[in-house]
């Protein structure tokens, strides 16, 4: 049973790379913490895509399993991070991440 496509592995990797870099770019340019988290999700998806692609290359389930672990990680991260966002919005009355710089050395 195949979907009968024939894509070079590099192409999928390039797609994952581009998505990852878009996410990284987003993290770097945005000051709003919600957008940063959103970009982070994008980066994680790109990683998952690379894993699934590598798994598909050998027709093994391991790639998908790694994707599921990333999924669990993302879910945990989002739960805590959004809790922090809510706290940040309350304490500083802003979502500007540059304002929350009290943890500097």
């Amino acid at each position: 049973m195949t979907t009968a496509i024939n894509i070079p592995l590099e192409h999928v990797f390039f797609l994952a790379l581009i998505l990852f870099l878009i996410g990284a770019f987003g993290v770097l340019i945005r000051r709003n913490i919600i957008f940063m988290l959103l970009s982070l999700e994008l980066m994680m998806n790109a990683c998952g895509l690379a894993f699934v692609a590598a798994g598909a290359r050998w027709a093994e389930p391991d790639g998908q399993i790694m994707f599921m672990f990333i999924l669990a990680l993302a879910a945990a991260e989002v739960a805590v991070a959004l809790g922090l966002v809510v706290q940040l919005a309350r304490r500083f009355e802003t979502l500007d991440i540059d304002r929350a710089e009290e943890l500097n050395g």
Partner: protein, 171 residues
């Protein structure tokens, strides 16, 4: 046909990803993100990973992004925040990240091209049953650890959220 579908989906994913990252309105950005995720799900399906595709839609697009939307709505980010975003997103700030990303793209791309040339994905479907078997045998420890991680996140989120509620009750 399927091959074209892949490239179309890839184009959609990249476009919407760029849009999601650069939008000023959080709700719009999240909707674009959903589209990105859906197109990635299509790619997963094409690659022969239907289970991953389903999870992508159900959990990522369905649960996680909706959680984002909830928070955006709860914080009530209206017009003023859009105006503030355009203030924050000055072009001058883009230069250094763009350069860094570009250099990373070149180096990463160079690495990716080192992969053996003949490697093709034939789209052999790995059904959920097989995924489940391996997941609960070889990766059982990983599953347990993921469970612990989720529990910790649950406790952490509950803790953070509860303090917020209590403070609000006092005021």
């Amino acid at each position: 046909m399927s091959v074209w579908l892949f490239y179309i989906a890839a184009g959609v994913a990249i476009t919407t990803a760029i849009l999601a990252v650069t939008r000023k309105n959080a709700s719009h950005a999240l909707i674009y993100l959903v589209v990105t995720l859906l197109s990635i799900a299509v790619i997963f399906f094409l690659l022969g990973a239907p289970f991953a595709a389903a999870l992508e839609i159900v959990i990522y697009a369905g649960a996680i992004v909706v959680l984002f939307l909830f928070v955006v709505m709860m914080l009530n980010l209206g017009r003023s925040s859009v105006a503030r975003e355009s203030q924050w997103l000055r072009p001058g700030m883009w230069v250094l990240p763009a350069i860094l990303s570009g250099v990373l793209f070149v180096v990463f791309g160079f690495e990716v091209l080192q992969v053996e040339n003949s490697a093709k994905i034939e789209g052999q479907v790995v059904p959920p049953k097989e995924v489940g078997k391996v997941l609960f045998h070889e990766y059982l420890l990983g599953v347990e650890l993921a469970g612990v991680l989720l529990l910790a996140a649950l406790v952490g989120a509950f803790h953070l959220g509860r303090r917020y509620l209590e403070e609000r009750r006092e005021t």
